[in-house]
Structures are given as C-alpha cells and as structure tokens.
C-alpha cells in the first residue's frame, strides 16, 4: 500500500464529506473542488497522469468555478438549507443500503487478476492516436455535444420579455 494513494483517498473522501455536509452551498462547492483534486491524485496513482491533469483543469478549473458563479448569481437571497433530519436520515439509509449492496458485490466478486500492471508507458500517445482514429466518432460527437451545450446554455439563460410572464401565469 503506497502512501500517495492513501493520501489521495483521504483527500477525496474528506472533500466529498465536506461537499455533502456543508449547509452553505458555497462551502459545499469548495468541498467538491477538494474532492476532485483528490480524485485527480488517484488518477495519478493509477498511472494516468494526463487524465489527472485534465481532471484538475476541467473539473476544478472549469466546473467548480462555474458552480461558484451560479451560486453567486442565485443564492444571494436563497435561504440556507434548513435542517431536515428526517430527510437526511432517509437519504443516509438509501445511500447506506446502496453501499451495503455494492460492498457485498465487491466482496464476493472474483476479479481475474489482482496484480498491478505497469505496462502503459506510452499511454498518452496511445490515447491521442486512438482518439483521432478508432474513437474518432466519440471525439467528434463530444465536440458537437459541447457546442450544443454552449449554445443551449446561452439560449436557455437568454432573457425573453414575453415568455416569463406567460410561464408564470401557467405556473399559477
């Protein structure tokens, strides 16, 4: 058991705990960011430095920051999460059940080979070549999806003068 993995795991879980337990949503986003850094560390120990870097760049640098913007824009007047013990308990039970189920499967599953493999020196090159050859479709699709997401996000957020009034009437 190597220490780097242990540290990364602890950071990940701690960050995640922070993300789910904090009543202040801003703090929760920070917790998410910490957890994501931990995940990047795990990726690193799993012999995938490139993915780890991407994780940090996109998740921590992009998504988490966007979330913070969203929190800033939305929850100024939003009340803090009220304590709702029953709900949390129910959620904990559900998640706990899931954990038990997953752990059971994990415990009894027999994996083909438990040995660590370290045969991926040229992995980055392989990723690049594969991405633009064999998995080109996934790559291109992803670009289209991202483009659509950008356009869609703009369209959704754009202010339309007539629509909100109508929608509110309908909602009422």
């Amino acid at each position: 058991m190597s220490y780097d993995f242990a540290i990364a795991a602890v950071v990940t879980l701690a960050g995640a705990l922070l993300a789910i337990s904090q009543a202040n949503i801003l703090h929760a986003v920070f917790g998410l960011a910490i957890s994501l850094v931990g995940v990047a560390g795990i990726f690193f120990t799993l012999n995938s430095p490139f993915v780890a870097i991407m994780e940090v760049l996109i998740y921590v640098g992009g998504i988490a920051v966007t979330m913070i913007f969203a929190v800033m824009l939305s929850s100024v007047t939003n009340p803090q999460e009220k304590e709702n013990v029953g709900r949390r308990l129910m959620a904990a039970v559900a998640a706990g059940t899931f954990f038990v189920g997953g752990a059971l499967v994990l415990h009894h599953a027999e994996f083909a080979d438990g040995k660590e493999l370290l045969n991926s020196e040229h992995s980055l090159q392989a990723v690049g070549v594969n991405l633009l050859n064999r998995y080109n479709l996934a790559f291109e699709t992803l670009s289209v999806v991202l483009l659509l997401a950008i356009v869609g996000a703009i369209v959704i957020v754009r202010k339309e003068p007539a629509m909100p009034a109508d929608a509110e009437e309908e909602a009422a």
Binding site: I42, S48, Y135
Partner: protein, 110 residues
C-alpha cells in the same frame, strides 16, 4: 493499493453522491452529488484498466469523454438553474411539483 481498495473508495464516493442528491434541497447541491457519482465511475474505469489487462487507452478515452460530457452537463444544468431562479426566485427542488397536477398551486403558493 489493490483493485478492491480502489473500487471500495469509488463506491464510497458514489454513496456520498447519492446522499447528496437525496438529501439536498438546493439544486446546486444535487448537481454536486451528480458530479461526485460521475467521478466515482471514472475512478472505476481507470482502476479496472490499471489492474486488468486490456487496452489502457480505452479507459482513458472513456474518462476523457465523461469529463467532457460532465462539463457540458454542468453548463446546461447551471443554465437551467439560473433560468429557474429567475422565474421562481428559488432553486428548491421541493417547490418544483408542477407534475403533481393540483398540488402545483399549493406548492407555488407556499
């Protein structure tokens, strides 16, 4: 570092995500939970590719695609959240019960 350990970590992360999705009333909180679950899945992909002999590039590509999709998803989700917030001044999921039919009026009155 073993396969089982990594998978257990991923499972725990996933359960945290589930908990967040279920317990949070804030939409952004739920989104955080979803991100946690996605990452748990990513860990699993890489763990399997690391410990079981396969083409290592595939898992990495999948993870990269998932990360890209997560970015797209987050962008859209946040846009929706902002729109909702503008319309209803709230991003509380418990207020969003239009589908319930008659209950919608009560909910929006609250």
């Amino acid at each position: 570092m073993t396969l089982e350990g990594t998978l257990l970590l991923a499972l725990m992360l996933f359960c945290f995500g589930i908990y967040a999705v279920l317990a949070r009333r804030n939409l952004i909180g739920i989104l955080i939970g979803v991100e946690l679950m996605l990452n748990a899945a990513n860990i699993n992909f890489l763990a399997f590719s690391h410990f079981i002999p396969t083409d290592p590039a595939v898992a990495k590509i999948i993870v990269l695609v998932v990360i890209g999709l997560a970015a797209a998803e987050a962008a859209i989700a946040l846009a929706i959240i902002l729109k909702l917030y503008r319309q209803r001044s709230s991003i509380d999921v418990d207020a969003m019960t239009l589908l319930e039919g008659t209950g919608a009026e009560e909910a929006s009155d609250e």
